[in-house]
């Protein structure tokens, strides 16, 4: 069965979220939002999702400040962060690199500490994104003993592969490689060192049931809140779907 890259990424994120009670989705994260709404369709409305930029029925009545207060209180189990650069110690840089300016750090320096776990997500998988050491630490992947920290990285998902974070070793472990790539391709396109098993499994594809949910009820919510993204994915889908 054919599927869009975004659909594979969404079902992979859904597995990573697991049985969380409350997942928050920050600025411009349509694929993580797809993942959470997919889970809700599968699990009878669980987990709770707070979409920061939800256009209608926004979950917060105290503005964006409330997202951070919820996280500080331990009421958010899963959050998502990306990075202009991400390094092998799970530090992320959202400010800029190589003379290029990016939007900025958003709430990353706080949410990375306070959300129960953070899934790092960046579609581009290249040596310029996955670097040995970030040029600027927007949010650190780990903290010295004595620094209060509830959460941290759980995994790094890219357009080529899924890595799990090994907290005790402070290193990523290659968990699976997406269709179209292979272990050698991932190694060649990753600027940092990481652990890998001898045989790297393929990332499981979406099932027919998952695809039906993604293209039905999930697509509807996504189109309301991420219209540009929805147009892009749906146009691509129209091309791969048999007429």
């Amino acid at each position: 069965m054919s599927f869009a890259k975004e659909e594979l990424l969404a079902v992979t994120i859904a597995r990573l979220i697991g049985d969380a009670r409350h997942v928050a989705v920050g600025a411009a994260s349509p694929i993580p939002a797809m993942a959470v709404y997919l889970l809700r369709e599968k699990n009878g409305g669980r987990p709770r999702v707070s979409l920061l930029q939800k256009r209608s029925g926004n979950p917060f009545t105290e503005g964006s400040r409330e997202l951070f207060d919820l996280a500080g209180q331990g009421r958010i189990d899963v959050f998502f962060l990306g990075g202009a650069q991400i390094d092998g110690e799970a530090n992320i840089n959202l400010v800029g690199a190589e003379g290029k300016r990016f939007p900025g750090s958003f709430g990353s320096a706080y949410m990375y500490f306070t959300a129960g776990k953070t899934i790092l997500f960046r579609e581009e998988h290249s040596p310029r994104v996955l670097v040995p050491k970030v040029d600027f630490i927007s949010a650190p992947g780990w903290s010295a003993p004595g620094v209060e920290r509830r959460g941290g990285p759980a995994a790094l998902l890219t357009g080529k592969a899924l890595f799990l974070w090994q907290r005790d070793k402070r290193r990523f472990l290659l968990e699976s490689v997406h269709p179209g790539s292979n272990a050698g391709d991932v190694r060649a396109n990753t600027g940092f060192d990481y652990d890998a098993p001898d045989a790297v499994p393929a990332t499981p594809p979406p099932s027919a049931a998952e695809l039906a949910l993604l293209r039905g009820p999930v697509a509807k919510v996504i189109a309301e809140n991420y219209p540009e993204f929805a147009r892009r994915v749906w146009d691509a889908l129209a091309e791969i779907r048999p007429a």
């Binding site: 600025a27 256009r55 105290e62 503005g63 750090s105 706080y110 306070t114 903290s143 004595g146 991420y226």
Partner: protein, 278 residues
Amino acid sequence: MNLPANETRFLADAAALAREIPNGACIGLPPDYSPVAMEVVRALIRRGAKDLKLLGVPVLGLCADLLIGAGCVREVETSAVTLGEAGLAPRFTDAVEKGTLKVIDATCPMIHTGLQATEKGVPFMPLRGVLGSDLVKHHPDWKTIDNPYAQGDPILLAQAIVPDVALFHARWADEAGNVWVGRRGELATIAHASKACYVSYEEFKKGDMLEDELLAPGCIGSVYVTAVASAPRGAWPLGVPGAYGIDDAHLLHYARLAKTADGFRRYLDEFVFKTVAA
């Protein structure tokens, strides 16, 4: 420091609000999903405002990109500048990469916390997290201390932030000078912490909204509001929740044009210097 107990003034229009905001002022502004006083921003550009410092509460979007591109801005403190789905903010990005704009990078809850300190009239407030971020090294007003109630527990302090001006758009203003912003709590935080607060509004309501139990919780009381002015569709091309949505197509059009200085100039000519009926 004393902040004023205001008696709200009613001004003629967005241009009159823009005239009250002096060159060099530090202006606290909301993100694109929270009603932005876009018509006042356009009036600031028309009047040739200079040397503004923009404070993103906690991030900035179209209004900042317009003001930066038009040469009104000296400095920005924010957690991000973004056009959301329309991508990078092109004039901000260009100015930073060329070194013509000073940026103080922050993280969202530190900005909220600095404003909340001012709300309470205290000099600073602590916040968890953030330690080990390079933001701490570069930010001039953040300090780490040891938690005085525990041992070996470092914690970060946000210095109280006092913007000269709070500027935003409200769904309603009433005869008493109250403004209604609904669930957009960050707008109340900016209003509470600023020396002056200017609000453009969508529609005027007779009477006093604080007399209405259902409307009162979404209000910012007139004691915080320096002046208001009518600006119907004044947030366009951004939205006012419950009234009209974001004009996504216009944002994409802007993002495309503003990629070049020349395209940006054409955008200003068409949508800022010409009076626009949206």
